[in-house]
């Protein structure tokens, strides 16, 4: 019996190649898109799951409460980690992880290592990063030890044995010191929130260059992770933290008016669930939800196509069903036959899906910005899941058509007085509306995402980010010389020194500032440390007072400039009133000499926050070089040439300010481009379905078309007649999709501090796109049918 079913199924597929092709390709494209999204979602959910003790590791984070508000940070102070381990028996081990940006050198081989870190010695015992050489208890024990990843070791030592060799390392704190390679680890997998290609020992700081680090209660820097004993209740531990902090830092908190609270975040949930930023390695559970829904929608659209085409084509199978029933087939047997056919089609689509996925995966990895899968066969369980999904779709999509077809009355179908009935037509209409609702919502979503991205990129930021090269000198002794010589280059317009530039991290400084009531107000405030030229070079506007000036000798030690937001925080009703207010910050005291107009020194996802600027030379590790807009390439080459002459021992470390600023939107851009691509796929699959459905509908109306033409209908009138019915469905879909998309996208936009509003033209554009695409799809068949000689269509009846 089954052989017979397969035979029939195969011959039917061959017989109607175009429609089988539409059916199979629609499903295959849907499955491929759905599968890729599921791989992506699965990858996102797999973050940090490879650590055996992962469920007992917690990240320690802190809230800092000052009189002006609460700041939620993703780090505690440096002292928390050693003290937690010492004072709580529940804590097996604690590890601090500090991300570093290092200039590394081995003889003539020099690189800037942006993904370097310093970690406590229990790092390799707590986390399951594979150590290929070296003892995990020992590799980070001694100061000046470094563990390299396989790739990093190869970069510096080629095929030579790296263990025991030395590297020269330099940053703000480490002044070109020698580190010994004590271990080689496997490259850290992509799905890890901890990313490092070299790890130096934290003892380098605690036992050598920063001996106070273990008791630095006021320095908030390293990420801190603790491993708890099994069956430890993290909430109960958390409850003990206030007393712990009071005991250790109570006096300090009171004195500084800065109250700290510590919390624990389950390590394996940090990536997707933590609201506290992780920089680049920051995932978003909402994106996972959105893409899961998109995957389900795309699969749904593909299934709808299948159901629509199969039921529409059921007229062709009616005779066969009638005959089978007459000669003894029972309804369940027929239903099994048609579900079986559906599964066969799905299995063909499954095979095409595997090929398509294998082809598309590298591009998808690029689009997603990470390697979500090395290859389709790298994890056979994924193929198995795809197979199960395929079979499920085969059964689900096949059940309805099977039920409809197997219900045909042989008396009717063999007599030829057969029609699929109004119920079937209504269902098909509902399904087409569903497909287009989803497609239009996705198009609308794409338009809104892109408009928001465009808005953020084109928004007036309040500073000039064009044609600026930023060099990271790590406060090199040659910094001054480099800056002076840069100014002599013909294409260089100006240079300035700074600790931060817009779009990069800045220091948060605990400060006391005199407020409008002439009281000292304690605040944790964003701080830039800049030189005399910074404000003018970045085009920042001074609203009151003045900028730093060489004519005032005290400016370098006793002057502060703040932004408008800072004056508002201090309660001043106008910028002018803040001039002369007293400040104390990081050992400096003096007066506010100027107020800047607010500028976006962070992404537009965030509100502008209060900012201070002072001149603290030892913090200014960056040189911002403003160059002429022409011949940028040549200018960069001359800057590099100069760098190599002045700082020969360090790799040229530079970036363009505009690129670096826009990089902040990378996650959103990826979200946008993924969304865009899936919207295109959704509309493509919907149109494939509409193409097939229109063809069938027009085929069934060929006699009507013939009669109308004989009676004098023009080609245009026939096309209009045939297109009208389908286009009505698109209009209904538009009416349904618009409020849904508006609601969802408004929710998405709420994430941005600076956002567009959803506007009427977006709806018009999305609706027009869907309408035109649908019209083009239908027109192909409609024009073909209307151009057919009526004699042919009337004869075929």
């Amino acid at each position: 019996m089954f052989r017979n079913y397969i035979k029939i199924a195969w011959r039917n597929l061959i017989k109607s190649k175009v429609y089988s092709g539409i059916n199979i390709m629609g499903l295959a494209i849907g499955l491929t898109a759905g599968f890729l999204i599921l791989l992506y979602v699965n990858f996102e959910l797999s973050y940090d799951k490879f650590h055996a003790k992962g469920d007992r590791i917690y990240r320690v984070v802190s809230d800092l409460k000052t009189p002006d508000g609460v700041m939620k940070t993703d780090v505690p102070s440096c002292a928390v980690s050693p003290h937690l381990q010492e004072e709580f028996p529940e804590v097996i081990s604690a590890v601090r992880l500090m991300y570093l940006n290092l200039a590394v050198r081995k003889d003539d081989i020099k690189f800037i290592e942006n993904d370097a870190a310093a970690a406590d010695e229990a790092f390799f015992e707590m986390f399951d990063f594979t150590l290929l050489q070296g003892d995990k208890k020992d590799v980070l024990r001694k100061p000046f030890s470094v563990v390299l990843t396989k790739t990093t070791a190869k970069k510096y030592f080629g095929d030579q044995q790296a263990i025991g060799q030395t590297l020269k390392i330099k940053d703000e704190d480490i002044n070109d010191l020698s580190f010994t390679v004590t271990g080689i680890m496997d490259d850290i997998p992509e799905n890890s929130q901890i990313k490092a290609n070299m790890v130096i020992s934290m003892t380098t700081y605690s036992q050598s260059i920063l001996p106070t680090i273990d008791d630095a209660w006021g320095t908030y820097d390293p990420y801190t992770y603790i491993l708890l004993h099994p069956n430890t209740n993290p909430n109960a531990l958390e409850e003990k933290f206030p007393e712990f902090l009071e005991r250790n830092t109570g006096e300090m908190m009171k004195r500084d008016q800065l109250y700290v609270s510590l919390y624990l975040e389950p390590f394996q949930e940090v990536y997707l669930h933590s609201a506290r930023s992780m920089g680049d390695a920051d995932g978003d559970i909402n994106s996972v939800y959105v893409f899961s829904v998109v995957a389900i929608f795309i699969l749904l659209i593909a299934c709808i196509n299948f159901i629509n085409l199969t039921t529409a084509r059921s007229v062709e199978r009616a005779k066969e069903v009638g005959v089978r029933k007459v000669i003894g087939a029972e309804k369940p047997q027929l239903a099994i036959q048609f579900v079986g056919e559906s599964i066969i089609i799905c299995l063909i689509a499954f095979m095409i899906t595997i090929m398509l996925t294998a082809l598309i995966l590298p591009t998808f990895n690029t689009l997603a910005g990470k390697v979500i899968s090395q290859g389709i066969f790298s994890n056979p369980i994924h193929i198995f899941y795809l197979f199960l999904i395929t079979i499920t779709i085969g059964v689900l999509a096949g059940i309805y058509p099977a039920f409809v077809i197997s219900s045909f009355k042989p008396v009717h179908v063999l007599k030829g007085s057969f029609s699929t009935g109004t119920k079937g037509i209504i269902l098909r209409k509902v399904l087409v509306i569903t497909q287009f609702t989803i497609s239009i919502a996705l198009i609308l979503g794409t338009i809104i995402i892109y408009t928001q991205m465009d808005f953020m990129r084109s928004q007036e930021l309040g500073f000039d980010k064009e044609h600026t090269i930023v060099l990271n000198t790590r406060v090199s002794p040659s910094q001054k010389e480099l800056k002076d010589k840069l100014n002599d280059l013909p294409n260089v317009l100006s240079t300035s020194l700074a600790s931060s530039v817009p779009g990069t991290n800045n220091a948060i400084a605990y400060s006391t500032l005199e407020n409008s009531n002439n009281e000292d107000q304690a605040v944790s405030i964003s701080a830039y440390f800049v030189d005399y030229d910074f404000i003018s070079q970045f085009g920042l506007k001074i609203l009151a007072g003045r900028g730093f000036s060489r004519t005032f000798a005290t400016d370098s030690t006793q002057a502060m400039i703040v932004n408008e937001k800072a004056t508002q925080l201090l309660g001043f009703t106008s910028p002018e009133k803040a001039i002369g207010a007293h400040f104390s910050q990081w050992g400096k005291e003096g007066k506010i000499i100027g107020v800047l107009q607010d500028f976006h020194f962070k992404t537009l996802e965030e509100n502008i926050v209060p900012l201070t600027m002072t001149m603290k030379r030892d913090q200014m590790d960056l040189i911002a070089v403003k160059v002429k807009g022409q011949n940028i390439k040549e200018t960069l080459a001359s800057v590099q040439e100069l760098w190599e002459t002045v700082v020969p021992n360090e790799a040229f470390d530079f970036y363009f300010l505009d690129e670096s600023f826009d990089k902040q939107y990378r996650t959103q851009e990826r979200f946008g481009s993924l969304f865009f691509n899936f919207a295109i796929l959704a509309i493509l699959i919907s149109c494939l379905g509409l193409f097939g459905l229109a063809a069938y509908s027009i085929l069934q109306r060929r006699r009507e078309i013939g009669v109308r033409k004989v009676l004098g209908a023009s080609v245009g009138e026939v096309v209009k007649l045939l297109s009208k019915d389908f286009l009505k469905l698109v209009i209904v879909a538009f009416a349904i999709a618009s409020p849904i998309a508006w609601f969802l996208m408004d929710y998405w936009l709420a994430e941005f501090a600076y956002r567009i509003s959803v506007q009427w033209w977006m709806f018009v554009l999305a609706g027009s796109c869907a309408f035109i695409i649908a019209l083009l799809t239908i027109s192909f068949h409609a024009i073909k049918a209307s151009l057919t000689n009526p004699i042919i269509s009337l004869r075929t009846e």
Binding site: N4, I8, I327, G328, E330, K331, Q333, K409, V411, L414
Partner: protein, 232 residues
């Protein structure tokens, strides 16, 4: 074999109710060859469909081999139909996607017969219908006469006791028509009961008895002389 009492069948559309059969009484004995005649729309095919258990009557009783089958549900009717009844249609109704062999084999598959047994039966019946040489062909590759021979082979391959033929020569030229009628007569002579709807006077002469329907009622009934096979 068949006893029909006061049988009625009406079709209802949204506004009109049409009475297709009105108080039909009919008895058909095993081994009989009955022709049903009448003008278009008189209810011939409706009666044949009810006798073939493809449709249920609206009213009245229908006994098949002594069992009341008029009110049975579709799946119950299918079970009785399977193996007992064979159908031959004017438009042959072969499945285009199956070969001659596979078309004839199909009823045996639904009877869950073993493959070897099926093979033997199909071969036998194809030989008998003189179509064995075309067993691998698809219906579209055959002439009308050949297609109808395949349809008859399919109807008899299960050793059906009753064959219902709905204008079996309607789509054939006279030569092929006669061949088909000869085949049916042969089957009847071997004991198969045949009920045939026809418009053709010539074909009706092959039957033992001719029933004339008009506006859903049997208006006349006449006996024919026994007909010789191969008569021209």
């Amino acid at each position: 074999m068949i006893q029909i009492q006061n049988l009625k069948k009406s079709f209802r559309t949204e506004e009109v109710e049409t009475l297709a059969l009105n108080s039909v009484n009919l008895k058909v004995e095993t081994g009989e060859f009955v022709a049903i005649m009448g003008p278009s729309g008189c209810g011939k095919s409706t009666l044949l469909n009810i006798i073939g258990m493809l449709d249920n009557p609206t009213d009245g009783a229908y006994f098949f081999n002594g069992e009341e089958v008029g009110g049975l549900k579709e799946n119950q009717r299918t079970k009785i139909r399977k193996g007992n009844l064979g159908f031959v249609f004017q438009s042959f109704n072969l499945i285009d996607e199956l070969t001659v062999y596979e078309n004839v084999e199909l009823p045996l598959i639904y009877l869950n017969m073993k493959k070897s047994e099926r093979q033997q039966k199909v071969k036998e019946v194809l030989e008998r219908m003189k179509i064995a040489h075309r067993e691998k062909h698809f219906p579209q590759q055959l002439s009308g006469g050949q297609q109808q021979r395949v349809a008859i082979a399919r109807a008899v391959v299960t050793n059906a006791k009753l064959i219902l033929a709905d204008e079996p020569t309607g789509n054939l030229d006279s030569k092929n028509g006669i061949e088909v009628m000869n085949l049916l007569t042969e089957l009847n002579q071997e004991g198969t009961t045949i009920i045939m709807v026809t418009h053709s006077d010539r074909d009706s002469h092959y039957a033992h008895r001719v029933i004339n329907l008009f506006d859903g009622q049997i208006v006349t009934e006449s006996q024919n002389k026994p007909f010789e096979v191969n008569a021209q």
